[in-house]
Symmetry: C2
Subunit: 404 residues, 2 copies
């Protein structure tokens, strides 16, 4: 498997586009994205577990009930959530896609991201459709990636090339992250495309299984969004024998999907709202997978630890504290902790108690932009990894007045 | 019942003291507190649920096993947690109390608060005992309250006068709060004294029952501390007939305890690390108590909502979002939300959807130092209240480099 360029347009038969249609006041920020497949594709999705769900999710869920889709439309700047006419607007968005591309409205994935509870007018979207469709291109992934950004500071896209049944396949994705992100099944917008041929049930199985170890292990701020989802469209144009059961082909597909998802997870975590650092907590030696995951997530979610990482402060007591209240079944007297980055590794805690370390060296390690928090909780066989970011002044600034 | 002065020294027979003994470098910040009762007292306590527990908690738990205590010693500046010799140091603290006051070491409540994982030397404490005991006074509550502060900016004390069985009783408390505070049974240090006569089982019952609606409904940052506890000493010097069962006397005691605890909760929330505002979320109309509590706690814990409150931004979508992921069984289409303060009330959401409101008025309301977030989730009979604070630049600053 190889990392390649092209994002959601890397796979055969996919085009994308992004324009500024006017939902946002800022004219140089694109706010409407479109992804289309040349032929109908198998589709799978996972959705937020928040009881408050964006209207677009309801519409998308209905459209994907038959396991098929051919296009994705997504706006930023407004979440179309908690609005009386939300479902109607989301339906109208799919109808606009049908009208301007010929792809049936019921084959459209609809998504919206932005402020909750402000009515979304269909007018700028309708007005922008012509330019959006005219802009569709096999090089359009970056434009679409930009159009779905909210407070993200960088576009997030990735693509890989892999082999299934002797055929070269490609898979790529774009994501928007930033705030309101917390592990609980599909916690951001991620659109993945692939030209691999795979049945709808196996595609859903691959996605549901992979997110347990990827997007569900990601947290920016502990808030689970109302709108977020991960969708995969697989159009089969790579002409591999369709994957319809587990086996080597499914494994190759899973590996590609995991690479795409882990890469997007790391991108989202590193670009969390106000973040200056990507935090990766790797827990090993747990007696159960649940204990490993709970421990890793709890560390990544601790506001105190996140603030300490912002300050490059090796305050390992907060790592122990977070594991202690995580609900994970671990022996706190067996916990070892080390901080690691490109500058080296600093062990700070052994068997639940502090060990002498150089504060100077720790500061050097923690001033890097990617920090690994390595935790061993015993001799068990299970491990887990969680991703997050530091808590900074800018997180407060961005969220103190997001709506204006 | 009447609010009175005197804190932990309001009740008959209690004296307190606080000194700077040298655990902290800052010489004008007291770091060692002592509370003593003239006679042995009935005692009850609740402790943190964090698996990582401070050594002082283990020692206190042992000392309170017989339901009796006569003194409290507490230092700030060092949590005496995750240290190899922690238990030994905590035992030595009780022995120092015995040596200098004659109160048996096994009747001493020991507590420590501050940094985790740095060895606590007994030397400054031993050296400070003479001045600490010499300073004991019936006006000493404020000194003790100051000595247990960590990053708190104000002392926290309260006292009430109430009647049990025709006798005037008094109850008072001091608390330290600030960071690492999240609802999960006894999430900070609180020392309560009363001269009411009450049996040990009824005292424990009163405390355990009350904290479910007070300290367990308080969150500053979602981090459950390793060291925190709430203890009550009841020395019986008010000479009321001992409370040994439920009934009118127990109810009067419970009411006094609840007043003390709610007052301390509000003080702790309003003085959370970096906080500029006290947030009180009142949820009504729930079908179950659990749904009311989960909803209220989730709102108070949302980083996004907390940051919005800092910015005086009426971003009610975040209130709905937090209830939506709280796990509470509610109908999101029946949720009403209003913001209220001394400047008035602004309804912002009705039946799960936004309603027009004056942004100007909302800003005026949210610029106050005490904000009520009023949430109605339906027609059910249950309600709950949770306390928290806003998320500010200063929270990040304080916790970005706490150890230096």
């Amino acid at each position: 498997m190889e990392i390649i360029q092209g994002g959601v347009c890397a796979a055969k038969g996919f085009q994308a586009s992004g324009v500024h249609c006017g939902i946002r006041h800022n004219r140089i920020k694109k706010d409407l994205a479109l992804i289309v497949s040349q032929v109908p594709a198998t589709a799978a999705a996972v959705y937020t577990t928040n009881l408050v769900k964006g209207a677009p999710l309801t519409v998308t869920k209905k459209h994907l009930a038959n396991g098929k889709a051919q296009a994705v439309i997504c706006n930023s700047g407004n979440a179309n959530t908690c609005n009386a006419d939300g479902t109607q607007i989301a339906e109208q968005m799919s109808e606009l896609v049908e009208k301007s591309t010929g792809i049936a409205a019921e084959d459209v994935v609809v998504a919206s991201t932005g402020v909750i509870g402000q009515p979304l007018s269909i007018d700028p979207i309708a007005a922008g459709m012509e330019a959006l469709v005219a802009g569709l291109s096999h090089n359009g992934s970056q434009m679409a990636a930009e159009a779905i950004m909210t407070t993200d500071t960088t576009i997030k896209e990735v693509a890989v090339e892999f082999t299934v049944g002797g055929k070269t396949c490609r898979m790529g994705g774009i994501a928007k992250g930033s705030g309101m992100i917390h592990p609980n099944m599909a916690t951001m917008l991620v659109f993945i495309t692939t030209d691999a041929a795979i049945s709808a049930p196996m595609l859903q199985k691959a996605l549901s299984s992979d997110i347990a170890a990827t997007f569900n292990m990601l947290s920016i701020d502990g808030d689970t969004s109302t709108n977020d989802m991960v969708t995969v469209l697989a159009n089969g144009m790579a002409e591999n024998p369709e994957i319809t059961s587990e086996g080597a082909d499914f494994d190759a597909f899973m590996k590609a999907l995991n690479t795409v998802n882990v890469t997007l997870c790391r991108m989202i975590a590193g670009d969390g709202e106000g973040a200056t650092k990507l935090l990766e907590c790797k827990v090993t030696g747990a007696d159960t997978l649940e204990a490993a995951k709970k421990s890793a997530k709890s560390v990544i979610c601790s506001s105190l630890l996140k603030a300490a990482m912002f300050g490059a402060d090796a305050n390992w007591g907060r790592v122990l504290c977070a594991i202690g209240y995580s609900g994970a079944d671990v022996d706190v007297n067996k916990i070892d902790v080390a901080f690691q980055s490109a500058k080296g590794i600093v062990p700070v805690c052994k068997n639940g108690a502090g060990i002498p370390f150089s504060e100077e060296k720790a500061k050097e390690v923690l001033l890097e932009a990617e920090i690994e928090i390595l935790v061993s909780v015993g001799d068990g066989p299970y491990s887990a990894c969680a991703w997050g970011c530091d808590l900074t002044y800018d997180y407060v600034k961005i969220n103190g007045d997001y709506r204006t």
